[in-house]
């Protein structure tokens, strides 16, 4: 046992271990949370680690079509395919998205280190069996995207250690100073909300019935940056959002956002960097006022200046540095855990102490 742990320790030191990111199959639908997983894998590979995407079934729709072809070329493996040959050791890491609460339970007996990647606070308890918590299921480390979510998670699972890696917005989301078109990019978690906003707006403001709304959920990322550059306004309603990738992307493209403040207020929201409302019913009126100002060329300079402030935030460089720092810390923590266990096993008096892997 001691030799095996020593071997694992050596493997970590020599970067000879696996970091597998369990990833849901979106069947081709773009989603920022999955994009983040791919960014982490890509960056870790760049840092010389053996990182890969782990998906459940053989039939998995890769993300190249909406995230970029290069992401299809990252290492992928399927649990269905490797099945019984799925072997991990104490040196390996399994990164589990927070929505896979059931997987946390199913993987309890694996000897690898399991880390939760919690991007959405809302999903944390969904699949977690009643009466259990991350710690009771053997997980004591998580990665999340902001200090606010980290604090909220620590309130639920006080014995866990959280690390923050902010999402990245690719550099192609930048302001190209295009002439804006009277088209509104809309993104609501619930499609009914989209429908209600659009219909209410047309009914209450028929003068603006020529303004087109476009639901951007299905648009590939790089194309979305062009769309956001062209459109004059974005509308965002996602009450359970923990970060809000879409509004940040919009602002980076110089497009103001009218949005409903989510339950967990994202750290980047300020009083003046958008038109933030607490009441969804006020959104159509806010759109009408904003539209009138657009057609009359009345610019809200405060708003536009605040939006500019978003240009240098959530960059790829910033995230690369965080990925390097956080994962290095997690790997080092694992090394310390293994060393502690080796030392316990080496002392005969401690043999009765439980060994936590």
């Amino acid at each position: 046992m001691i030799e095996k742990l020593k071997e694992s320790l050596n493997k970590i030191e020599n970067k000879d271990f696996q970091i597998m990111f369990l990833t849901p199959d979106l069947k081709g639908t773009p989603r920022a949370s999955v994009a983040e997983i791919y960014y982490h894998v890509k960056e870790l590979i760049k840092l010389g680690y053996n990182a890969s995407i782990l998906h459940e079934n053989n039939e998995y729709t890769k993300v190249g079509a909406w995230l970029g072809e290069e992401y299809d070329n990252l290492p992928h493996s399927s649990i269905q395919e490797i099945g019984g040959t799925f072997k991990v050791g104490p040196q390996d890491f399994l990164i589990i998205p927070e929505l896979f609460g059931n997987v946390i339970q199913q993987t309890q007996k694996l000897p690898c280190k399991r880390v939760i990647f919690a991007q959405s606070y809302d999903y944390i308890l969904d699949m977690l069996p009643p009466g259990t918590n991350w710690t009771s299921l053997g997980v004591n480390t998580f990665i999340t995207t902001s200090e606010t979510i980290k604090q909220e998670i620590n309130k639920l699972f006080p014995a866990t250690t959280g690390h923050i890696i902010s999402p990245q917005i690719p550099s192609y989301f930048s302001n190209k100073n295009s002439l804006k078109k009277p088209i509104i990019a809309i993104m609501c978690r619930d499609d009914r909300t989209t429908s209600k906003i659009v219909k209410t707006f047309y009914l209450k403001y028929p003068l603006y019935s020529f303004i087109t709304f476009r639901d951007i959920k299905q648009i590939p990322r790089e194309e979305l940056s062009e769309v956001l550059n062209d459109y004059f306004l974005s509308v965002w309603v996602d009450e359970t959002s923990s970060f809000g990738t879409f509004p940040v992307e919009s602002m980076k493209c110089g497009t103001p956002v009218i949005g409903k403040v989510p339950m967990i207020q994202p750290e980047w929201i300020s009083e003046k960097n958008g038109i933030w409302l607490f009441d969804e019913l006020q959104i159509p009126e806010a759109i009408a006022i904003f539209s009138k100002n657009f057609f009359e060329d009345v610019e809200d300079t405060d708003l536009l200046n605040e939006i500019k402030g978003m240009e240098n935030k959530y960059t790829e460089e910033e995230q690369s540095k965080q990925i390097k720092d956080v994962y290095t810390k997690i790997f080092n923590e694992r090394k310390e855990e293994l060393k502690t266990n080796i030392s316990r096993l080496s002392e005969p008096n401690n043999l009765e102490q439980p060994i936590v892997l």
């Binding site: 002439l179 078109k181 088209i183 019935s209 020529f210 087109t212 004059f232 009359e296 060329d297």
Partner: protein
């Protein structure tokens, strides 16, 4: 001040209410932060118009104004075509003397010319008012409605937004050319505005433009205030003046005529013989 490469043409065929509206129309030009390079006032040879203009104090604008006289007729199309011959810039815009530009119009027109050099006509998002200056509606904005100009794919429909095409025009004829910024070379290539199609001259012009593959788009900015049915205006006379009044059938006839005439780049003689 930035040169706009745009001239403004103001056709004047009557003195009725001219003293009331012309100062406002001219002021709307001067209020623009980007100015047109020149203003051409094109007048008919009517003595009362000649007299009015010779005694009019243009103030500081005088150096920018050129009076062009058309001897042919006092018809709108002839006046505009004559003035365009005199235009020295690459683009021009028609300002009816009872209308006004918004103060943001030329600034935006210059931006759009730069961004879309291949566009031949930039229509304005027109605010229509009645003779009491009360809001009655808007014109030209329909080009921004999804599906107004059909695309082969949804993507193409989105990229067509803002533009006008022949098929869309065949289903919806109501567009306003006043205030638009038009490429002089294209206007001349295509034969200008036709006089003989009467009230459908704007429609026929746009049909002819799009039929010949020229590009027409609406700038999504409120650029022009148009007064509808001012007493004694051209369209008011078509409806109310016994000498010019058109029956409903004749109105239809001229719109149908536009649909037949846009194949020709010259103004053919057309007679209405029905009733």
């Amino acid at each position: 001040m930035e040169k706009s490469n745009i001239s403004v043409i103001i056709p004047i065929h009557t003195v009725i209410d001219l003293d009331q509206y012309l100062p406002k129309a001219l002021e709307s030009v001067t209020k623009n932060t980007v100015q047109p390079d020149e203003i051409l006032i094109v007048r008919c040879a009517c003595p009362e118009v000649t007299e009015f203009l010779s005694g009019y104090d243009f103030g500081d604008m005088k150096k920018k104004i050129r009076i062009v006289e058309t001897k042919k007729t006092k018809e709108f199309a002839h006046m505009v075509n004559s003035a365009v011959e005199e235009v020295k810039t690459d683009y021009f815009s028609i300002l009816e003397f009872d209308d006004e530009y918004s103060s943001i119009w030329f600034k935006n027109a210059v931006k759009y010319i730069k961004a879309y050099p291949d566009v031949d006509v930039f229509l304005s998002h027109v605010i229509d008012v009645n003779e009491k200056n009360e809001f009655v509606g808007t014109t030209n904005e329909v080009t921004w409605s999804l599906g107004f100009v059909q695309g082969m794919t949804p993507e193409e429909s989105f990229s067509n937004l803002g533009f006008l095409d022949l098929e869309a025009l065949k289903t919806f004829p109501n567009f306003q050319l006043s205030g638009a910024v038009i490429k002089k070379a294209t206007f001349e290539d295509i034969g200008g505005i036709k006089n003989n199609v009467k009230l459908s001259f704007v429609y026929e012009f746009l049909l002819r433009m799009t039929y010949n593959g020229y590009k027409v788009m609406t700038i999504p900015k409120s650029g022009y205030k148009h007064m509808n049915m001012r007493p004694y205006s051209l369209f008011w006379r078509y409806r109310n003046d016994d000498r010019y009044k058109l029956s409903q059938n004749e109105g239809k006839f001229w719109m149908q005529t536009a649909m037949k005439e846009y194949f020709f780049n010259f103004d053919r003689e057309i007679k209405y013989e029905g009733n």
